[in-house]
């Protein structure tokens, strides 16, 4: 009797949890706040600043989404998640979405029952070495000691790369970026490997940055992007198209500064549809007409967000590379707004 009551309660709560995740968009609207699973601290991508306000490339997506859905870019609660807790936090409904440098992989998409709705940063694993080592390609790293974080996909990529090139290496495992940097500077390892964006940020803060080079090889594909729960396609669409609005805005030259001007003067029908001047795209996914306009106005278009947080003008100094628009040789491509 007791047992059946207990099981019944569990089933009921599971059912209720199911209902809740069936309508994240409604939940967010009812709550009046977007709960965004973010990083505990990653340079340029997402971290609280000295005043406790979250800033970064990933954070800007959360802001744009909050602006689109709730009309206020500040109505976001950032829940810091670690590498271990992030997917469970999303699956259990503690956060509405994850924008947290998570690589889109087959097993995460299928096995963990998550949906990667877009790719906001195409990253890849690279190597940094001391110039004095005289190495110009990762394939010359035979016999090198390499600093690498444990328990990450980078560790597996590294093993694959060296195996396929028939060369050997000695791993020096470290717990996090700062320890890796320390070991690398102390000479405990010849090379340091992690995502190229992380390498660039690390190199930028080295005391003698000019003496270190990042090797040209990128040995893995790391498409990073916002993640939502499986089975809530409406919410997934909202996140996806909010992101694409930012990309399309860059393509169409809509910026945070000129958005009002463009809205007043544009003759481009697609721009009109994005900004809600024509058609009713917002209503198709449960938002109002001006969602796109607000999303772009929150922190600017994709290019502006990139430039402000991690671009070449910042100390991190990442080039657009793969993340340029498709018109400029990159991979960022927004489907038509129609």
């Amino acid at each position: 009797m007791k047992k059946s009551v207990m099981l019944g309660t569990l089933a009921a709560s599971a059912l209720l949890a199911g209902f809740a995740s069936a309508g994240t968009l409604d939940d967010v609207k009812a709550r009046g706040e977007l709960i965004c699973g973010s990083n505990t601290g990653l340079t340029g991508f997402g971290a609280p600043d000295a005043n406790g306000n979250y800033q970064g490339f990933d954070v800007a997506i959360c802001k744009a989404l909050a602006a689109a859905v709730l009309g206020d870019a500040n109505k976001v609660k950032y829940v810091p998640t670690t590498g271990e807790t992030r997917f469970t936090a999303l699956a259990s409904g503690e956060v509405d979405l994850l924008v947290r440098n998570s690589t889109w992989t087959f097993s995460r998409d299928n096995d963990l029952k998550l949906d990667f709705v877009a790719v906001n940063y195409y990253d890849g694993q690279g190597f940094m070495v001391h110039k004095d080592l005289g190495v110009s390609s990762a394939k010359e790293l035979d016999g090198a000691t390499i600093c690498i974080q444990t328990g990450t996909t980078t560790e597996l990529n590294l093993a694959d790369f060296f195996k396929s090139n028939n060369i050997s290496y000695t791993p020096v495992t470290v717990a996090d970026d700062s320890e890796a940097q320390r070991q690398y500077l102390a000479g405990a390892c010849d090379a340091f490997t992690t995502d190229a964006s992380g390498l660039a940020a690390t190199r930028a803060t080295l005391p003698d940055a000019e003496n270190h080079i990042i090797l040209p090889e990128i040995i893995s594909k790391e498409p990073l992007g916002p993640v939502v729960r499986h089975g809530d396609s409406n919410w997934g669409d909202v996140v996806r198209w909010t992101y694409y609005a930012l990309v399309a805005a860059e393509e169409k030259g809509i910026t945070q500064a000129n958005i009002e001007e463009v809205a007043a003067s544009t003759n481009d029908p697609e721009v009109k549809r994005i900004l809600g001047l024509e058609g009713d795209l917002g209503a198709m996914m449960g938002l109002d007409k001006e969602w796109g306009k607000r999303a772009i106005a929150a922190s600017g278009n994709y290019g502006e967000i990139f430039a402000a947080n991690i671009g070449e003008g910042t100390s991190i100094g990442l080039a657009r590379g793969l993340n340029a628009l498709y018109t400029q040789g990159g991979l960022q491509y927004a489907p038509p707004f129609r």
Binding site: L16, G41, P80, T81, T82, S92, T205
Partner: protein, 492 residues
């Protein structure tokens, strides 16, 4: 025939100084450092090790830079002052970010609230730690008051945009002066009266830290009042245990069902309150203290009950206690934290916003209570059987015997174990970083390192946080030694 001696010494020779090798520093060194080949060797190795450590660390510490805006600037300043290649600590990071280490992301204009709560905590602790000792109580209250007021002044001076200069800042300071002056007077006149503050402190501390409507904490306190009333009314008829149970049940009904309606109504009639602060804005040592102090305070009584339950003759109580203790002790703390942060969420109804910090506090308390229970059980086992029999012979009932005879002795024996459990618990609060909370050691440090200015800083945050932890843990350990000395009644 008396012989005539040429010289007869009449007085004693003054004692000569011992030979050089048998006195002073040389003797001490010979005896303690170079008493044999092995010790000589170890001494030399030890001195060398100390020398090497000091040689590498001292310049780094002495070259420390306090005024800079980034690591790069620190390096430039060190290079300019001490030449190329010199290394130096970058304490400027601490200067820039100390408030995040202490308060996390607590709103800056409200920093006075945790500061005040921290100061009041010591006043509330004074009568518990030094019961009835007027001088120490008064001194502790006064010192806590002066330090809190200085800290308040310091905090408002560091954030001039927030409260300093404004009327609120002045009022807060004035209020703090009055509160602490009053408390010092109470400590002087009637030190035991301070216990009232101790009993109220959980509500006061909660209200200061989280804010919101004043009726929430008042309602929670009312629950305890209801518990006490029910207990007193039914004790005579039902006995201690059942009366307590009845009290808890009635109080639980109040807390879970009635309270929110009553406090809601009261709030709509008389909306008293201050700005609400969300738990996710807590971080740094504020978080460590909130978790540590709450868990310490709650786990001691819980541990005592569990220890008694484990030694109980009643099979159900014994089984429950043993099951609880062994289950919790058999699971690593990290597992408990993951359960708190992830698993519980699956079982709670959706949109029930059960605060993560609260979940963590509850599970950390359980964890600590299981260990405390075993420590106290050790103390209970160490009591000679005669003590229990003497209590029975005096005609004391179970609770009287425990309260008057058994527990005072058992707790005294367990003091070192209890305090080391507490010290361990306090340090374990840093593990909450694993569930994404901003603990001072890893959480805040990670945030600081994520800023491009401080990326790559390594030792400084650890040294800073380590020093504060050391100060806290060392004081706890000294207090336990004081308590052992004070309670020493035998001449072993």
């Amino acid at each position: 025939m008396p012989t005539k001696a040429a010289f007869v010494r009449k007085d004693m020779l003054a004692p000569q100084e011992p030979p050089v090798s048998e006195r002073g520093a040389i003797k001490w060194a010979r005896e303690n450092l170079f008493s044999g080949p092995l010790n000589t060797f170890l001494t030399i190795v030890g001195v060398l090790a100390v020398f090497l450590i000091v040689k590498s660390a001292l310049p780094w510490l002495l070259n420390g830079v306090w005024n800079a805006n980034s690591m790069a600037e620190c390096r430039e300043i060190v290079a300019a002052r001490h030449g190329e290649g010199a290394t130096g600590a970058c304490w400027a990071m601490v200067r820039e970010r100390w408030h995040q280490y202490l308060f996390g992301f607590y709103p800056q204009e409200l920093f006075w609230r945790p500061t005040m709560a921290f100061g009041l905590m010591f006043v509330a602790l004074a009568p518990v730690l030094y019961f009835g000792n007027r001088t120490i109580n008064m001194r502790m209250t006064a010192v806590a008051g002066v330090l809190t007021i200085l800290a308040l002044a310091g905090v408002s001076a560091s954030f001039p945009q927030t409260i300093a200069g404004s009327e609120a800042g002045g009022l807060a300071l004035l209020a703090a002066v009055i509160v602490f002056a009053g408390l010092t007077a109470v400590a002087w006149m009637a030190p035991r009266r301070l216990l009232i503050l101790t009993l109220l402190y959980p509500a006061i501390g909660f209200y200061l830290l989280w804010g919101g409507s004043i009726w929430g904490p008042v309602g929670a306190l009312a629950g305890f009042a209801i518990l006490a009333v029910v207990y007193n009314l039914t004790k005579a008829q039902l006995g201690v245990v059942v009366a307590t149970g009845a009290g808890v049940v009635v109080a639980a009904i109040w807390w879970l069902v009635v309270q929110s309606h009553v406090t809601g109504a009261l709030h709509s009639i008389l909306p008293l309150g201050t700005a609400h602060v969300d738990s996710d804005e807590f971080g740094g040592f504020l978080l460590a203290f909130v978790i540590g102090v709450t868990a310490i305070a709650a786990s001691l009584p819980m541990g005592i009950l569990l220890a008694l339950g484990r030694r109980s003759d009643m099979p159900l109580i014994k089984a429950l206690s043993v099951g609880f203790i062994e289950f919790i002790r058999g699971v690593p703390l990290i597992t408990m934290l993951f359960t708190a942060s992830l698993l519980l969420q699956y079982f709670l109804p959706p949109r029930s916003n059960f605060d993560l910090i609260l979940r963590v506090i509850i599970l950390v308390t359980f964890f600590s209570a299981a260990y405390i229970a075993e420590v106290i059980r050790g103390g209970l086992a160490a009591l000679p059987r005669g003590q229990y029999e003497a209590a029975d012979a005096l005609g004391l009932d179970y609770w009287q015997a425990q309260r008057l005879i058994v527990m005072p002795q058992a707790l005294k024996i367990s003091i070192p174990g209890i305090v080391s459990s507490f010290i361990g618990l306090f340090k374990d609060t840093t593990l909450v970083a694993l569930v994404g909370l901003h603990d001072p050691l890893q959480g805040v440090t990670k945030v600081v390192r994520a800023a491009i200015e401080w990326k790559g800083i390594y030792w400084e945050p650890y040294i800073f946080v380590g020093l504060i932890f050391f100060a806290c843990c060392f004081s706890m350990s000294r207090y336990s030694m004081y308590l052992e000395r004070k309670l020493k009644r035998d001449h072993r």
